[in-house]
Chain length 240, copies 2
Amino acid sequence: MGRMADSNRRTTSRRALYNRLRRMVLTLELPPGAALSENELAASLGVSRTPVRESLIMLAQDGLVQIFPKIGSFVSRVDPAQVADAQFLREAVELAALEDLPAELDPGVVAELRDNLEHQRGPELDLEEFFTLDEAFHQGLLRLSGHANAWTTVAAAKGHLDRARRLGLHEHASSAAFADQHTQIFEAVLSGDTDGARTAMRTHLRAVFSDIERIRAHSPQLFASDPGAVPVRRSVAVWE
Amino acid sequence: MGRMADSNRRTTSRRALYNRLRRMVLTLELPPGAALSENELAASLGVSRTPVRESLIMLAQDGLVQIFPKIGSFVSRVDPAQVADAQFLREAVELAALEDLPAELDPGVVAELRDNLEHQRGPELDLEEFFTLDEAFHQGLLRLSGHANAWTTVAAAKGHLDRARRLGLHEHASSAAFADQHTQIFEAVLSGDTDGARTAMRTHLRAVFSDIERIRAHSPQLFASDPGAVPVRRSVAVWE
DNA sequence: CGACAAGTGCTTGTATACAAGTCCTGCCCG
DNA sequence: CGGGCAGGACTTGTATACAAGCACTTGTCG
C-alpha cells in the first residue's frame, strides 16, 4: 500500500490511476505479464502520458509492475521467491501478534470477527467476497493485538502473495476449508489458548502456501522463471 | 528498497537520483522536514524537473517523502507509529528466523559474522561504519536461516526506524553496548541455543527501541506529531 | 534462396510550457 | 492604526514535443 503518500483532500489523477491500476493488477484483471503501454492507457483513459506514467512508476515501486527502459512496461509475473518471502513475513507477523494479545479483547473487534466468520460460511459466496472477508479476518486479528498499522506494512509486501492466492482460489474453491481453519484460530484466541492459536494459524498459512505451489505447477506461465528476463514484445499478439 | 524496479543495465537519471536522494534521506543528510523543491533540485543537479519529480514520487511511495499537491514536497518526519510498526515487524521476522535456523550453519556466513563482530569492537568506529556493520550483522543472521530475501522486504519498511536509530546513535554513541548484545546473540546461535538467542535478540531490539523513545523526547521537532499536518512553507526560512 | 541492412513503428526517457492552487506581502481604504 | 483584498512568487499537476533505443519487417543484394 502506498502508505498514503500525498494524503491530501484533492485527489490528483495520478493517484486515482494508481488506485485503479493497482486494484486491477491485484484482482488479476490485468494478468501477470500483460503489457501496459503508456500511450494506450493515456488514450483510453483520456489523460496525458504524464499521470499514467507516474502511476506506473508508483506501481513499479510496489513491485507490481516492471518497467524496462525503451522496451515496455509489464504487469510483473508472480515471483515465487517474493511469494515465499511474503509468506515467511506474514507468518512471522501474525504469529507474533498472537503472542501479543491483551488479556481483555476488544469486544467490538471480537463481534466483528464473529460476524465475519458467519459470512464466510455463506452458501453463495463470490470469490472476491471471500477474499475480502479473508483479508478482513486476518486484519482483525492484528487489530486485536494492537498492531493494526503493521498490517498495512505487511499488505504492501503482500502483492505477489495475494495474486498467487487469488489464482489458487480461482482454480478450486477451497474456501470452505479455509473458513474452518479461520474458525479454529478464532476459537483458540477466544479461549486464551495462545499455543493453540499459533498452531492453527501456522497450519492455515501453510495450507494457503501449498495451495500456491500446486497452482504454480498448473499455470506456470503466470510465474516468473527468471526475474530478470525481458518479456517479448507481443509480435503477432493475440492480445485482446 | 525499490526492489530494483527497472532492472536494466542502462541507468536512467531518474534511478540515479532516486538512489542518491534516498541515501541522503536515510543518512539524515536531508533531515526530516526538509523542503525538496523540484525546481531547486533540478537546477542544482542540471536536469529537468521530470526525473527529479519522478524520483520524488518513488521516495514518496517508500514513505520517505511527503508530497502535498500545490504546496510542496518534504522529507517526511519520523513517524512514531511507523517506527513502532517497523520495530514490531522486525522483531517478528528476526525471531522467526532464529526459530528457522538449520542444523548445519553455513560456515561462510558464520565466518563473516565473526569477522563483522570483531570489527564492531574496533576502537575508532565511525557512526556510519557501525551502522553499516550492524545492518550487515542482522542481515547475516537472516541469511543463516535461508531467508535472505525477506530482509530486503523488511528493509523497505524500515526507513523510519533506521532514521530514528541513526538519531539515537548520533546523540550518544552506545555502540559498545550494542556490540555486546550482538555477540551474545551470535554465541547463542552458534551453540544451538534457540531460546537463548531469541531472548537475547528480543532484549537487543527492545533496547534499540527504548533508545528511540529517549531521542524523541530530546528532539521532538524531527518527529511527526500529526501525520496529516502540512508543514508551513519556509517564510523567512533560515534554511542553509 | 538466404542473409544482411536499412526502415518503420513502437516503446520509454527527458525537456519544456502552461495550468491551477497556496501562501505571503503589501498596498489601499475605512 | 487596523482590516481586507489583490497581486505576486512560489509550489506541484498536467499536457505536449522531441530524443533515444529496441524489435520486427521488408527490401535488396550476393
